[in-house]
Amino acid sequence: MKYYILTNNPLAAEEFGKTHDVRTVDGKLIDVLIAARDQISRGAVLLNHPLYGSVKPNETPFRSLLLQQGKSASGDAPAMPDPESVRLIGNAVSAFEKFTGKKEVADRRLLDDFMVVDLSLLRSAVESADR
């Protein structure tokens, strides 16, 4: 199946850059969600849940989403947004907003931990998508 990975996790680009279509977002977790929301509004379809993992959205700075390019029935016209994807990404943005006390992670080791966990959760989605 053809899909792309939208991520701000450097490890994701490192691991999947050669084998997959990886599109990096230069920003925070919320920037990835917003970028995905924009693409979904233009027809992209979400393949993994944007709130994957129990690491809270004000905690980890990383997010990696699997998206499928939207196809429109008639070719040129923009694809219709997928309602389920719209709903999920909308809920994810609201869930992000309700967590207060957002932290800037500076500690290298901690950042590394967040990257590794995010990568593992991404891997688990990629394994499902590629089988």
Partner: protein, 426 residues
């Protein structure tokens, strides 16, 4: 399947020369346990400690909590496919050490959560302030990767719990409970007028620090299936989950699953408890669709009249929970779901990440964002180095007077989604 649980009440844990259980007291020689932990070269040291209810002790960061048990009759052994061979468990006789737990602690990742306070406000929220806790803090080999460290500590906890469980062999239990489920035909014949009830337990299965194992199999790879509720009592389901302390299900809670116990309490009286259905919470949306389809189908094929569905963790499991509920209800099976809430610190936000009108019967374990102030305690087992890095904490968490301002989500088991606790919200 019929399982007897013989309960041995442990009233104290003491370090001693000889490891043994005598008159309800567990004597432990840490030197007996050390080799059990260090047989894995990924761990280079371990420190054992004891925390008792009411003591001014904080255990953090907690990884898993395990109840020592030993199988004395019937097939297999405790933690099949993980410690014991993969024989099917859940029948015969098992001895359990009640009133105590093995608690694994230590920094697996920097944001490793989980606080157990043995006294004060925090103690009201965690179920493990009421158990005598044999704590083990493991030190990893240098440069050990997070995956390997998690697995090493997870397995060390099971080995230690098994070793302690073995001490119970031959001891007369203080109390024995019998749990029995019937075959489908048998059940219908014996309880023709009782509603047929199942228990759908959703297992956290997403990746590193978010995994659950069934007979040793990573549950993200399973298709939903049925097991006897007594299998979980013998450790067929174990936790590899380290995230979201308040609403993850430690192994102890799988062993003592409260929904299973409370359904058994009504079994043959107001309902016929047929089976446990296990399903997963994968990150991939198509997996969620498949698993919820299968779960709903199983409910239908088993001719269930009602089910209780419990979930584990934060965020995307809400989507699995709602999918399960919607599809099971659509099969005409009445459904009650158990969850917790993230309604924000002020309680004003939407509690769940997903919702549906079919979920008209919900039990909640409370709002995990609610703020509590934990007192300064005299002793820490584990480490406080990262306490302001964990979910539900912030840079301001550690206050000048030594108290901690945190959200309930840092406390192990505070808003458990199997209904283990009394906490709720309106």
């Amino acid at each position: 399947m019929r399982l007897e649980i013989g309960k041995i009440n442990i009233t104290d844990i003491r370090f001693a020369e000889e490891s043994k259980i005598e008159k309800g007291i567990l004597y432990v020689n840490p030197e007996d346990l050390k080799p059990v932990v260090l047989e894995d070269e990924k761990l280079v040291d371990v420190v054992f400690d004891i925390a008792k209810p009411g003591e001014s002790v904080r255990i953090t960061p907690v990884k898993d909590v395990i109840e020592p048990r030993v199988k004395v009759e019937g097939k297999g052994g405790i933690f099949p496919g993980v410690i014991a061979k993969v024989d099917t468990v859940g029948s015969g006789k098992t001895l359990a050490l009640k009133g105590m737990a093995v608690v694994t602690a230590g920094r697996i990742v920097g944001f490793q959560e989980g606080i157990i306070d043995m006294t004060g406000v925090g103690a009201q929220y965690t179920p493990f302030s009421k158990t005598l806790n044999l704590c083990m803090v493991c030190e990893p080999a240098p440069d050990l990767k997070q995956h390997d460290y998690e697995k090493a500590v997870r397995m060390a906890g099971f080995r230690v719990a098994t070793k302690i469980g073995e001490l119970a062999r031959g001891i007369e239990p203080d109390e024995t409970c019998v749990y029995e489920t019937l075959g489908i035909k048998e059940g219908i014949e014996k309880y023709p007028d009782l509603p047929r009830v199942g228990y759908v337990s959703m297992l956290q299965t997403q990746g590193l620090l978010h995994d659950t194992y069934v007979y040793g199999v990573d549950a993200k790879k399973i298709i939903p299936t049925i097991i006897s509720p007594t299998e979980a009592m013998d450790g067929a389901i174990v936790s590899g989950n380290c995230v979201s302390a308040c609403d993850k299900n430690p192994t102890y809670i799988h062993q003592n699953n409260p929904v299973i116990e409370d359904l058994f309490a009504q079994h043959g009286k107001t309902l016929n408890f047929v089976c446990q259905i296990i399903t997963n919470e994968n990150v991939y949306l198509a997996d969620k669709e498949r698993s919820s389809n299968m779960t709903a189908k199983l409910c239908r094929m088993l001719d269930l009249d009602g089910v209780i569905v419990t979930q584990e963790g934060f965020g995307n499991p809400d989507t699995d929970l709602i999918m399960n509920c919607k599809k099971i209800e659509a099969e005409g099976v009445k459904t009650v779901i158990v969850t917790d809430e993230y309604a924000g610190r002020d309680g004003k936000s939407q509690s769940l990440a997903d919702a549906d009108a079919a979920a008209d019967a919900v039990v909640t374990g409370g709002n995990a964002n609610e703020v509590v102030i934990l007192p300064k305690l005299d002793k820490v087992i584990g480490m406080m180095d990262y306490v302001n890095k964990i979910a539900g904490a912030s840079e301001d968490t550690l206050r000048e007077d030594g108290t901690l301002e945190v959200e309930l989500q840092v406390i192990t088991g505070a808003t458990n989604e199997m209904g283990f606790g009394l906490l709720s919200a309106r």
